[in-house]
């Protein structure tokens, strides 16, 4: 078509090198392009930096612990594969699965929080605050106690399934409440209340369980990566990898959804389908975390927020990778602190994440005070 050919010709001077010297508009465009370039560079720098920090933290976590060893010894133990030596046992059976679990679940938690923040257009929404983690924990505790009576063992997939059912049920309740309350703060309060009810119910269950079970259940209900094993890790890797790819693939409709439902619809997004997908994916991600590590506080708010600030944008396409990495770094670092701070006493990881995460949440609330 002659028209479009001409249009293509016209666009050339705009994009190209002909104008800049003569035309202020052209130089502005060059600057904008440079700005665009630096924006991409910034995202890349942030992602690479986060990855480096993550690797460093993981290496540190593997090296540090009650069984002392030099980095060289640790490297040797890893390279020679699992053996019967004590160091090898500690590293292969305890530290490696734990470090990997904390990194992957941290990313999952962060992505889940990012999805919920987009869904509710509320910067302080995450699975923990909205009570979804507590709901998942209640479901898992219920199933565990019921199965313990019949001397069956809950498989990893089984506990994910139970946690997912609990997550979705709680999410349903929160959604029903959200339809009634229109303000952002009321949504959060409703979520916190739902969380309390679920926690209370879990505590009842524990009180009536056999003494033997309580020990396990207690540490898990506080939030901890200590029970990580390779069989759990396989499930975690598969589930989280699939969901992360789904979240990344949803970047485009999520970006439109950030402007509001009516705008998303007007540019052709199937809003109903997208909402269902967000609920499913975020619930599954938080179910994974809760099934294996219990409820972990504030990571889902703090990590996505820090990622957005670092990247300087909230466009999902550039935020999601940084978001995952930030969650990994956050959880890995907090778990390291939880293990080492008062060694040999181990803190619950949720206590450490709260210390670092809560200030971020408070800062967010102060910044958003105009929003109600």
């Amino acid at each position: 078509m002659p028209g479009s050919a001409r249009a293509r010709h016209r666009s050339k001077p705009d994009a190209g090198q002909l104008r800049p010297a003569a035309d202020p508009q052209g130089s502005a465009a060059t600057k904008a392009r440079r700005g665009g370039l630096s924006r991409h560079t910034r995202v890349l720098v942030v992602d690479v930096a986060l990855a480096i920090v993550l690797v460093a933290l993981m290496a540190l976590s593997v090296c540090l612990g009650s069984v002392g060893a030099t980095p060289a010894e640790v490297l040797g133990a890893i390279l020679s594969g699992p053996t019967d030596a004590t160091l090898s046992q500690v590293i292969w059976q305890i530290r490696l699965p734990r470090v990997l679990t904390s990194a992957i679940l941290g990313g999952a938690l962060s992505l889940s929080g990012f999805l919920l923040q987009t869904f509710f257009n509320n910067p302080i929404a995450d699975p923990y605050v909205l009570g979804i983690s507590s709901g998942a924990r209640m479901a898992v505790a219920l199933v565990m106690i019921a199965l313990l009576g019949s001397s069956n063992i809950l498989t990893p997939w089984g506990s994910v399934a139970a946690a997912l059912v609990g997550s979705l049920a709680t999410m349903g309740i929160v959604l029903l409440l959200a339809r009634r309350v229109r303000t952002q703060s009321m949504l959060i309060i409703a979520g916190i209340m739902v969380g309390y009810v679920c926690s209370a119910a879990t505590n009842f269950l524990i009180a009536f369980a056999d003494d033997q079970d309580i020990v396990n259940l207690q540490s898990w209900t506080q939030g901890s990566f200590s029970g990580a094993s390779w069989s759990d890790l396989a499930v975690i890797v598969i589930a989280v990898a699939v969901m992360s790819v789904v979240v990344f693939a949803l970047s485009k409709p999520l970006g439109a959804y950030q402007l509001g439902e009516t705008y998303a619809q007007s540019v052709g997004v199937d809003v109903r389908r997208l909402r269902i997908l967000i609920v499913l994916v975020s619930s599954l991600l938080s179910a994974c975390v809760t099934a294996f590590a219990g409820p972990i506080s504030f990571v889902g708010i703090a990590a996505p927020h820090l990622a957005r600030l670092a990247v300087g944008s909230s466009r999902p396409l550039v935020v999601t990778p940084a978001c995952f990495l930030a969650g990994s770094v956050f959880c890995c670092g907090c778990d390291l602190l939880a293990r080492m701070l008062f060694s040999p006493v181990e803190l619950s990881v949720s206590a450490v994440t709260a210390v670092f995460g809560a200030p971020v949440v408070i800062a967010l609330m102060l910044r958003r005070k105009g929003y109600r």
């Binding site: 028209g3 705009d14 600030l309 466009r315």
Partner: protein, 427 residues
């Protein structure tokens, strides 16, 4: 060639004109790129937007029903009507966000519900009144969202997409704001950015819900001129709800009046903006709306006239309004009926004495004016001198002097005279 910013703008316009010309010859020919599924001949023949027997509402009960409305390419149609009459609901239904309760919405001859989201979005853009609450998104990020129907699965923009975004942002004067955080822009700037977002969607039908409501008067005028230009040059059909009826009168080709659950009336601005339609539509006192001015006047002060105004040729307009604000009932004369003072006096004066248009002030009118004048406490005459047609109004000044009624030139003097009168009567 373009040192001045306006040159680039006119550049864009002519390019757009050329494209629109191409589009005119074969509107459908442009379609295979956009909507592969559409039958070409069909599209050329159909209206841009056609609502037939449409009933709209939230839930089961219809808020507005039996809507029959057609918008053709290049046409601007305005929906007007009182608050809560259902204009926004109609637009939400046409945009596909609410299911029609009855009847149909057709976009270029295709049932709206039969189109996929992307097909619909490439043909029709919409702008509603809810504002996105964003965090760390630039103005340009927001506008780029309009390219959603054209980008690939990850939403990365091509050169063509960037060109469209820039074109729309320059047209709405937001290009300079492109790196600003959307959350920190003014309401007016945000509205312009959102309109740019809708325009870069390359819509052939544009739905707007109160597009001018956040804008100052200058931006309102710019916005409507822009819409008219895009409608004319690109054959874009516009359906907009407007609260500013004076702007609707000036900017729309056709007007549909929504009230009491149906389209009460639709027609050209000449047919709609009359003292028969507008006062009924908005429950106005029939005297307060003036189709010539395209606006409404506040209610006139009622009672026995206190002041007589000798005016004409626009000299009395500010005095009429000042008396109205102070709540002083007044009479005016002798005026020509369609003189600007005559039109205004018919809304604001308790009693007006008129002479026929283009006739010199005659004996009969003069006598009636003098009668009215004698019952007043003061006379205002802002006129310096009289002309051929109102020469005999000078006799009213004599009549006032004979009756001992003070004659003043402006409102300030009037205040002193009336105060004196009041203290005198109190004594």
């Amino acid at each position: 060639m373009s040192e001045r910013p306006y040159d680039t703008q006119s550049d864009v316009r002519t390019a757009a004109g050329a494209q629109a010309g191409l589009g005119m010859r074969a509107t459908a020919a442009a379609c295979p790129d956009g909507q592969a599924t559409h039958d070409q001949g069909d599209i050329g023949a159909a209206h841009a937007l056609e609502l037939r027997g449409l009933a709209v509402g939230h839930g089961a009960r219809a808020l507005v029903s039996d809507i029959d409305l057609v918008v053709d390419p290049g046409e601007v149609v305005a929906l007007i009507g009182p608050n809560g009459s259902g204009k926004t609901t109609i637009l939400h239904t046409v945009a596909g966000q609410l299911r029609p309760l009855a009847g149909s919405v057709e976009l270029f001859g295709h049932e709206l519900a039969s189109l996929t989201g992307t097909e619909r979005a490439r043909t029709m853009a919409a702008l509603f009144t809810d504002r996105p609450r964003t965090d760390l998104l630039t103005c340009q990020d927001i506008v780029e969202a309009g390219r959603h129907p054209y980008t690939g699965s990850l939403g990365i923009l091509s050169d063509e997409d960037h060109r469209r975004v820039r074109e729309a942002m320059e047209a709405t004067d937001t290009w300079a704001l492109r790196d600003r955080d959307f959350a920190h822009m003014s309401d007016g700037q945000r509205q312009r950015a959102l309109i740019a977002r809708a325009l870069c969607q390359e819509p052939r039908v544009l739905l707007l819900d109160e597009p001018t409501s956040y804008l100052d008067i200058r931006s309102q005028v710019d916005m409507l001129q822009l819409l008219r230009a895009w409608a004319r040059e690109r054959g874009m059909a516009v359906l907009a709800s407007l609260h500013e009826i004076d702007l609707a009168q000036k900017a729309a080709d056709r007007i549909a009046c929504v009230r009491d659950g149906h389209i009460m009336f639709q027609g050209t601005p000449d047919e709609v903006f009359t003292s028969d339609v507008i006062p009924v539509l908005y429950d106005l006192d029939s005297t307060s709306y003036d189709p010539f001015f395209g606006g409404v006047e506040l209610a006139r002060p009622e009672g026995e006239p206190q002041v007589f105004v000798i005016a004409g040729g626009g000299a009395g307009a500010t005095i009429f309004r000042a008396l109205q604000r102070q709540g002083i009932p007044f009479a005016a004369g002798v005026l020509h009926r369609h003189d600007i003072d005559g039109l205004l006096a018919s809304h604001l004066a308790v009693k007006s004495v008129f002479e026929d248009d283009f006739e010199p002030v005659g004996e009969d009118a003069l006598r009636r004016a003098a009668d009215a004048l004698r019952s007043c406490r003061a006379v205002i005459c802002p006129l310096e001198s009289f002309g051929a047609l109102n020469a005999r109004n000078a006799e009213l000044l004599d009549a006032a002097r004979d009756a001992g009624i003070p004659v003043v030139r402006d409102i300030e003097q009037l205040g002193r005279v009336l105060k004196l009168g009041r203290t005198a009567s109190n004594d």
